[in-house]
């Protein structure tokens, strides 16, 4: 049985209708829909990206592989991403801050961060972060001095971007699982430093 909202929201009824038609025709397996939804809601999330960041901080060779071939490197951790051909990991440095957007819709590295937050999909973010990234970042709590270069990366269905934040001071020698706790979702999108 599927867990539908049994109200008279036309959108809900249409979604249920489409799903039922496809299942009845044998075009999609209802178990696949259920497991996909479960996967996205419960198994995907920024803790996966945090694991990747922590490993990159702890293991310079992995970091080089990650920057060179994002999908290949995260596959070493059993991670990937539905519907993505390329994952480009961009590294923050003392001189460079990276921020990711999808100006046209909401392309996002699902396999590392789960589903994007509502603000990522908003017209305000999509249109403004490319035109005035410093202002948008400052509004979101990330004020950057003028001597730090800001690079904005526009995602697409084929290429998803992921920010490798700088390792914080005072974390030398920490094991990877503890390092991962120092990584926040907004850093991996680039709206936090």
């Amino acid at each position: 049985m599927t867990d539908h909202d049994h109200d008279h929201d036309p959108r809900a009824l249409r979604a249920e209708a489409l799903e039922a038609i496809l299942i009845e025709r044998g075009l999609v397996d209802p178990a696949v829909i259920d497991s996909t939804l479960d996967y996205f809601e419960n198994d995907l999330g920024p803790m996966l990206g945090a694991q990747v960041v922590a490993k990159a901080w702890a293991d310079p060779a992995f970091k080089r592989r990650l920057l060179d071939d994002g999908l290949g490197a995260i596959a070493e951790l059993g991670l990937g991403g539905p519907q993505v051909d390329h994952l480009v990991v961009v590294e923050n440095t003392p001189d460079v801050h990276n921020v990711v957007v999808c100006t046209l819709c909401s392309c996002y590295p699902w396999g590392l961060l789960g589903l994007p937050p509502a603000w990522y999909k908003s017209l305000a973010y999509r249109s403004r972060v490319v035109r005035e990234p410093r202002n948008v970042l400052a509004e979101m709590g990330c004020e950057l001095p003028d001597d730090i270069e800001v690079r904005v990366w526009d995602s697409s269905a084929e290429v998803r971007y992921f920010v490798l934040p700088e390792r914080p001071n005072g974390t030398d020698g920490l094991p990877e699982d503890v390092l991962a706790e120092h990584v926040h979702r907004d850093q991996m999108i680039g709206v936090a430093r």
Binding site: L13, L18, A50, Q83, C105
Partner: protein, 103 residues
């Protein structure tokens, strides 16, 4: 702009980070149906995305900041499935009406 910032805590599993993945269950079903259709090679994700982009652009022009993302997704998916013949014209409407009468 006042974006909805999420909890600025450690990266956490989706359900415990203070944010729902989907505001309404139908959005999750719709999303999962799209993914399943792509996996079954019924639709091409790039084709779907092109339509989604066009729908979002139209909504941006008509009603900026309406935040109608999932409606745009639904319209794009239905239009694509209609165009490639996976559903018949009016079929979704008829099925939706039938469901509304039985729920």
């Amino acid at each position: 702009m006042t974006p909805e910032l999420d909890l600025d805590g450690p990266a956490a599993p989706p359900r415990s980070n203070g944010e729902l993945s989907f505001e309404h269950p139908w959005q999750g079903r719709l999303f999962a149906t799209t993914m399943a259709a792509c996996d079954a090679d019924l639709i091409d994700y790039a084709d779907f995305r092109d339509r989604l982009i066009a729908g979002i652009a139209e909504r941006d022009r008509r009603e900026p900041e309406a935040g109608d993302y999932w409606s745009a997704w639904q319209d794009a998916l239905e239009a694509l499935m209609l165009d490639i013949g996976l559903v018949e014209p009016g079929e979704i409407d008829r099925q939706a009406i039938e469901f509304s009468q039985h729920h």
